[in-house]
């Protein structure tokens, strides 16, 4: 398998053209702040006020390297960085003709070409960007670490196009490995074929299909059996929000209170998506579903969602976390902690899971919506570790984007009026304030 590399991501909508990155780049490379020495350039579109980026993409098939007659450019196999060796360069500038993105440019002051070297793995531009418009992404490490592991979910399952659950299950099983018993109660995960189509299961681990009501208690029993015969097998549930927060809640609550050893993952797509998009107790306020319709009287759901992860924290679970597939490094870190916690108690992870089919958005927008949910504080990312009573946010909740940037991407919120949006914004704020109380308590204790 080929290696995957770290990269510098640019989010133009967060850029305000302050040029701090340009100064930081020039300074770290030459000690001067003149933009002439910067390897990164930000250009403003005077028409719509948006910004563009000129920076080396560290291409996989770098045209500059191919076009260099002097062998002065090469791609470092370990870091992926296209390296420029000044002593070999003859200054023919053919590389500047090779690059379509102004990633390697001629510096008229030094009379040499220059390009981004990612500051040896700690890029100054991303560090100095206070708005998160430039971000140094290291999530490729996950691919390098786990990409060669066997995918324990078969291809060809019948999930909808762009299904978040499928993505999540593949990643989770890779990390947790084959020494696992999986339970998938009725819901999308079971429905796509994980528990069996024509006598074959889609998971390459033992899998069973409990009732909607008893997932946690069945896993508790299975784990106790393995404990008795002396085998350390991970119990793993992939429950939907219905099987978790509605009818499955009593068995989950009981198992959590007893501290049963398992990882319970709630894939929260905010409703009963595989049976025709009915509302559940985690369907958010204002959302359209087939049972909270939009018409002349009703304008979507009139109640707020049940704060499921907080409820689980209140059960004194060994580990509780929220997650989003737009932040996979965060998810993997949480899985590691969940695996450790499930050795002695319950680990509960609540995954925000946008659904193209039931929420009405194009499949290609899935990850963007998963990201915007977090960035608008609609779905704050946090974790609670019972051992030590730690609570902390794993993604900053300061300076969130306006909630409209999330809502406007999703069809089920299309009808919202200003009052409803205002309500959602207020509830988001209230949720953060409540969570911050746990967080502050933690800070006070630490100091």
């Amino acid at each position: 398998m080929d290696k995957s590399y770290h990269t510098i991501a640019f989010y133009p909508q967060k850029c305000n053209g302050c040029n701090d990155c340009i100064e930081a780049c020039a300074r770290i490379n030459t000690g001067e702040v003149s933009p002439a020495h910067s390897r990164i350039a930000i250009v403003k579109d005077s028409e719509d006020g948006s910004f563009g980026l000129a920076l080396c993409r560290q291409c996989g098939e770098p045209r500059c390297v191919m076009d260099c007659p002097a062998g002065a450019l090469s791609k470092n196999e370990d870091t992926g960085v296209i390296q420029w060796e000044e002593t070999k360069c003859v200054n023919c500038q053919l590389c500047t003709l090779a690059c379509s993105y102004a990633g390697i440019t001629y510096n008229p002051v030094t009379r040499k070409v220059m390009k981004c070297d990612m500051c040896g793995g700690d890029p100054a531009c991303a560090k100095v960007c206070g708005r998160g418009a430039l971000e140094y992404l290291t999530s490729s490490d996950l691919y390098d670490k786990w990409g060669d592991m066997e995918d324990l979910f078969v291809p060809g399952i019948s999930a909808c196009l762009g299904c978040n659950s499928e993505l999540l299950i593949r990643h989770t099983l890779r990390r947790i490995g084959p020494e696992t018993v999986v339970a998938t109660p009725p819901g999308c995960v079971a429905g796509v074929g994980s528990v069996g189509v024509n006598g074959f299961t889609a998971t390459k681990t033992p899998v069973f299909h409990p009732l909607l009501t008893n997932t946690a208690s069945m896993l508790a029993g299975a784990r106790r059996y393995y404990n008795r015969i002396g085998r350390d097998i991970t119990m793993l549930a992939f429950g939907g929000d219905g099987g978790t927060a509605d009818v499955g809640f009593q068995s989950l609550s009981g198992a959590a209170e007893r501290g049963e050893q398992m990882i319970y993952i709630c894939i929260d797509n905010e409703g009963y998506m595989n049976t025709g998009v009915q509302r559940s107790s985690t369907t958010p306020y204002g959302a359209w579903t087939s049972t909270t319709p939009v018409g002349s009287v009703l304008r979507g759901k009139t109640q707020d969602a049940k704060p499921m992860p907080v409820l689980m924290m209140m059960h004194n679970c060994a580990y509780v976390a929220t997650a989003s597939t737009a932040f996979m490094e965060d998810y993997y870190a949480k899985l590691d902690k969940a695996v450790a916690a499930a050795k002695h108690g319950m680990a509960y992870i609540h995954v925000f899971s946008p659904c193209p089919t039931g929420w009405r958005f194009p499949p290609a927008m899935l990850i963007e919506i998963a990201r915007k949910g977090v960035e608008t504080n609609t779905v704050p990312l946090w974790e609670y570790i019972n051992d030590g009573n730690e609570f902390h946010f794993t993604h900053s909740v300061d300076n969130p984007l306006p909630v409209q940037e999330f809502l406007s991407l999703i069809g089920k919120y299309r009808h919202l009026d200003a009052d409803q949006i205002d309500h959602i914004q207020k509830m988001n704020k209230r949720r953060i304030e409540m969570l911050k109380m746990f967080s502050e308590q933690e800070e006070r204790r630490a100091s």
């Binding site: 350039a41 191919m66 007659p69 062998g71 003859v90 500047t96 102004a102």
Partner: protein, 421 residues
């Protein structure tokens, strides 16, 4: 007879790029590269810099042996190809050995043209096409005080500059009115020539060679049609290149000036491709086929050929040959892409020229309706690669054309930032 899945003849940019492109898709199929050179692969483009002593010999090579070993590619050095049999799918080497192939790429490059100047056979002259030429020229230069360079292309200009850097008094013979006519218009070329003259290089333009005769001490005299006599210790011919295709005689592969290929770099014979300086390929702006002996073009063609040879699903046909190059001289920098030599606007051609001779700065943008078709520049703050890509993609500038004309650097960067996927 040895057998190989992919056989690549020629080991410079086109051949190397094709090999690397094939390896991305086929990590196991046997690849054999043969080169008439005794050395590891290098680029002819590096030679003028090598002559000037800017690069030591051990540093001119593009890849080392370990690289070929790692990719499991057999590299046969000192192996000139003398014949090809497209029916039997074999090539014959000078040693008499034959190699059987499944797919063959001919990337044998181009040699120097030696025009039939009267008297040329009586004098000692040099060319710069391969390392041996360059080594010979360096040796000659060491005992020389003056040089005459015949030719008007980039190799001629580069060589003239580097001979001047080495301390020689250099004269250039340019048959046409100006040098670099393939890349620059009269005004731009005039500016470049002025910089050469200011740096002590004499350029005699507008007059061809009438005869060449030997003089005492191994020197030679070039008599121009204008009657002017130029005398030099070194005579360097840089009057163009000619694809190396002699070995294809009787092979059944169609040739003209070079090996005729289509937009997939396929020749007329089955399972044989050609790329780089040796190929005569379709053009970007007009019908017909041409030899485009430039480095970036060799890489592009090598990549197209490699992708087609390995049936890469991402294959895209060659978009066609057009002029493109960069030129760095006496601390100044220039480049040219596309139809950059058009001087006069026509019905649908618009020419926008900025000339600041005092600052030695020149910029020319050529548009066909709302599309950029050519750019040339001297000491201008522009991104050559972005200009090239906008031309190649035939990007419709439409509403932002005026903005592009007033700020081509920023507008170009903004466009490619948005179009980059």
């Amino acid at each position: 007879m040895s057998h190989t899945k992919y056989l690549i003849v020629g080991c410079s940019h086109a051949g190397l790029t094709a090999m690397e492109t094939i390896r991305l898709q086929d990590s196991e199929g046997a690849i054999t590269m043969v080169t008439r050179e005794e050395t590891l692969p290098y680029s002819p483009t590096i030679l003028p810099y090598f002559i000037a002593g800017q690069v030591p010999q051990e540093q001119i090579f593009l890849r080392d042996q370990a690289y070929f070993d790692k990719l499991n590619v057999t590299l046969l050095k000192g192996a000139a190809v003398v014949g090809a049999d497209s029916a039997a799918k074999t090539i014959r080497l000078a040693s008499g050995d034959e190699i059987h192939y499944e797919k063959l790429l001919l990337a044998t490059g181009a040699g120097a043209t030696v025009p039939p100047f009267p008297g040329i056979e009586n004098v000692r002259y040099q060319v710069v096409r391969d390392l041996n030429d360059a080594l010979k020229l360096r040796e000659t230069m060491n005992q020389a005080k003056s040089a005459i360079v015949i030719g008007a292309g980039l190799i001629a200009m580069h060589s003239a500059e580097n001979l001047a850097h080495a301390g020689l008094k250099v004269s250039m013979v340019v048959r046409r009115k100006v040098s670099l006519f393939a890349y620059f218009d009269v005004a731009a070329a005039g500016l470049i020539e002025k910089i050469f003259e200011d740096n002590g290089v004499h350029i005699a333009t507008g007059s061809g060679v009438a005869k060449i005769s030997p003089s005492d001490g191994g020197r030679c005299v070039v008599t121009l049609e204008s009657g002017e006599d130029l005398t030099g210790d070194v005579l360097l011919l840089a009057a163009g290149v000619r694809p190396r295709i002699e070995y294809l005689e009787g092979s059944g592969i169609e040739t003209d000036a070079g090996i005729l290929v289509d937009n997939s770099m396929r020749t007329s014979a089955a399972d044989i491709w050609a790329a780089g300086d040796v190929a005569q390929a379709p053009q970007f702006f007009e019908p017909g086929k041409t030899v485009n002996a430039t480095l970036p073009n060799a890489v592009t063609q090598g990549r197209v050929a490699g992708m087609d040879m390995v049936s890469d699903p991402a294959f895209k046909p060659y978009s066609g040959s057009s002029g493109l190059n960069t030129f760095n001289f006496f601390g100044h920098h220039a480049f040219s892409v596309g139809l950059a030599t058009i001087a006069e606007p026509t019905e649908d051609i618009e020419v926008n020229t900025t000339l600041l001779p005092s600052g030695l700065r020149y910029q020319k943008l050529v548009f066909q309706k709302d599309r950029l078709v050519g750019v040339s520049a001297i000491n201008a703050a522009l991104d050559p690669g972005i200009m090239r890509e906008l031309i190649r993609r035939q990007t419709d500038l439409g509403a932002i054309k005026e903005k592009f004309v007033s700020a081509p650097l920023e507008t170009g960067r903004l466009l490619m930032s948005k179009l980059w996927r």
